[in-house]
Symmetry: C2
Subunit: 291 residues, 2 copies
Amino acid sequence: MSDHWVSDELHNFYRISLRYQSVLLDEQTEFQHIRLFNTPFFGNVLLLDGVIQLTEVDNAAYHEMIAHIPMLAHPHPRRILIVGGGDGGALQQVLRHPSVEEVVVCELDRRVVEVCAEFFPAFGRPFDDSRAHLVIEDAFTYLQRVEATFDLIIADTTDPIGQAEKLFSAPFYALMRKALSPDGIIVTQCEQMYFDADLIKDMMDVARTLARCPAYYHTHVPTYPGGGIGFLYISDTPWQNGLGKPYPGPMTYLNPQIHQAAFALPEFLRRQLEAPAYDMRPVQEVYSGPA
Amino acid sequence: MSDHWVSDELHNFYRISLRYQSVLLDEQTEFQHIRLFNTPFFGNVLLLDGVIQLTEVDNAAYHEMIAHIPMLAHPHPRRILIVGGGDGGALQQVLRHPSVEEVVVCELDRRVVEVCAEFFPAFGRPFDDSRAHLVIEDAFTYLQRVEATFDLIIADTTDPIGQAEKLFSAPFYALMRKALSPDGIIVTQCEQMYFDADLIKDMMDVARTLARCPAYYHTHVPTYPGGGIGFLYISDTPWQNGLGKPYPGPMTYLNPQIHQAAFALPEFLRRQLEAPAYDMRPVQEVYSGPA
């Protein structure tokens, strides 16, 4: 076997390396350094600026959880905005829901879309769907100029360094909130509970000023630092409204137990976030309907 | 900052590396290569034969879950056997329960005990407790000769390579079962759901021949490969009996939501294990008492 390894460079105290067979692409775009590798275990792997973004083998744990948790919680999601997400993985999952009329994907770098369409065929070319609209633009600028409102905004962003740093800020969260319909939901990629607890706490505090039912949930992705990543759920519609709803088809990662379990926070994080533990009584007893 | 990195060598397609400041110990014992490093983020880190065993920062997620999940499920655990576990972390957690009369720790390598007593002071020297009995012996041999029965056996072992390979086998599981009291519980360290699903399936099939309520559960440990590790729960006493029981004190990782959530298996693993999803109704409705 080859002895080539590519390393995630997000942290200076911890790193994951993946053995690869070949370099599929190595390109500096206007915005970032895109690299693609073929690996023996994880299939094709995308790195942006030295940080692992997704692999063919474990991306379902990320994309199903960032997309279906809010899609199931919302009573009738018609118009969705995906910030970032040029790979198409979240878009693919959102489009499975028949209520969807339009999905805007606001991606900064067109090359991410082109490259992922070529190297992640399992996403099924979701940008070809007539309900999908690709906008190549900085999301901050887009949200400042757009008048539209969305039922769901998914911030499927890179990490808060460089160009994406401003997407982890109170002003950007406020921009998203302004573009949200009354019972709408925002879900943001919000980092690793062991490594980024302070950032998560800061973002949770921002979320609390924006909506009545903020919550943090997480998923198990072995190729992300620490083996997991979390999401901030921001809405006046409780996430529990999604429990028990029918799925739009078979899932790889999500099931009803995982749906609830994703919101169980280890005690050290629950304390730091000052988050209430969720009620373990059955959904019907606790939540009789949309808030 | 220093630019020294130590890597976990368990897998040939994936590796975690931790930056370290200094080597605290590097010693070849009769049984294995013991290394200890001081790291800026995770505190002291123990490696055995090139595989990360524990760190000061995240070991609670492992030790609380391997110890308290079965301790809470059992109606009155008095006699406990820990296979391996020479670091003392699981022993410390078990000893917090006032029902405990005796804990035998059967560890192969005395140096693990000595080294961890020195470099993991937060474990509080649990071998000094009068209820703790250290047996330096191969666990296979110990269980073949011992007549005693235990209410709980915790197999807190290294990975199934080299000396520990025989501990992941039907004969060893049968030996543990033979040494178990009627409503006793076995919990074994049982690897990573993404990387070792075939092994987990094999061990689950063995567990099904030994007890009525086998189950797989998992915990989030960022310094283990894939960021998580799982446990096989083997008993005629359902794990759900532990839900709602009072804790022996404050926890770092465990809480009631995490307790239940640990048994939520991602759909791909649930399918492979042919495991039933747990009932999400409240504990009192589903389980009126010990089976």
